[in-house]
């Protein structure tokens, strides 16, 4: 039996197909989920992919967070189901308060699109166990609302509890506080990051590296072992 990983499509989602493919490349079954369905089809984990859900109207992720599918996902994430939010998905997770802080417009106001080097700060999450702490990876980054913000107390807490999962290397692309590219919740099952691992799972395309594949193999391993 292989793990079933749900990939949510909101109106305006862009990267659902690439994410489904990444799930399959890792050896799991990709299950498309629709924003209007409360039913998440008994999946074992969920990925919220990138894009501009609901046009990013109001704030990035603000409207998606109240969609029927998110009602179910929020409940299951709190119960321990692995959830990964990539880019717009990360914004949805902060708006849903599954992850602390908020995302703001890049500090230089430009859309950034480039290969981004990151340092993996912890392997202690459902989505990073196939990496080692301190490992450097390169995956695509593409966003305009990528500036991670939280108050000093929250940032200190994240650092102290080892919940900063990724940090930007070679320059901070968007003004994120403390160079934070991704974080996790206290239980380690919910992870959000701005860069895109799903675009770096096959050597033929993208960065020419497969540095993003580990996200999907990590969660697969966790689900199979469970």
């Amino acid at each position: 039996m292989t793990a079933r990983i749900g990939v949510v499509t909101f109106p305006g989602t862009l990267d659902d197909r690439d994410t489904q493919r990444a799930v399959r490349v890792a050896g799991a079954e990709a299950v498309p989920l629709w924003h209007r369905d409360k039913d998440v089809k008994q999946v074992d984990a969920v990925v919220l992919p990138g894009g501009f859900s609901y046009g990013d109207y109001l704030r990035a992720g603000a409207i998606s967070r109240f969609s029927p599918v998110m009602e179910t996902i929020i409940g299951q994430a709190k119960a321990g189901m692995p959830v990964l939010g990539i880019c717009n998905g990360f914004q949805v997770l902060t708006e849903a308060h599954l992850l602390p802080g908020a995302m703001l417009r890049n500090n230089d106001l430009h859309f950034v699109c480039r290969d981004q080097r990151l340092r993996v700060e912890t392997s202690g999450t459902a989505w990073t166990s196939d990496y080692t702490a301190g490992q450097q990876i390169s995956i695509p980054l593409k966003n305009i609302d990528g500036r991670y913000t939280a108050d000093e107390h929250t940032l200190d807490e994240l650092e102290a509890e080892g919940r900063v999962v990724f940090r930007y290397l070679d320059g901070n692309p968007n003004g994120s506080l403390r160079d934070i590219a991704g974080i996790t919740n206290a239980a380690g099952n919910v992870v959000g990051l701005m860069p895109h691992p799903e675009h770096a799972v096959e050597s033929l395309i993208g960065t020419g590296r497969t540095d993003g594949l580990g996200f999907f193999t990590s969660v697969l391993k966790k689900l199979v072992d469970a």
Partner: protein, 81 residues
């Protein structure tokens, strides 16, 4: 029908690059003497029925959970007659 206005502003400690960009453009356009600009959002709500305490309480709840993200933004609710 009454109108209720909800103003949403980034908290003072949050960097507002859009406001800064506006402020920097002002001297070039001949508008001198503006030392800072903060950019926010204004929502105009047309309310069915009376704007009583219960209606205002619902609008405050709406502002707090949806119109504003209170992690980064403050909001203000006022009734326009």
């Amino acid at each position: 029908m009454a109108r209720v206005v909800v103003d949403v502003m980034l908290k003072p400690e949050i960097l507002d690059p859009q406001g800064q960009a506006v402020q920097r453009a002002l001297p070039r356009l001949g508008f001198a003497g503006i030392s800072d600009v903060r950019q926010g959002k204004r929502f105009e709500l047309e309310v069915d029925g009376p704007v009583d305490d219960a209606a205002l309480a619902r609008i405050r709840e709406m502002a707090e959970t949806f119109l504003a993200n209170t992690v980064i933004e403050d909001f203000n609710v006022k009734v326009e007659s």
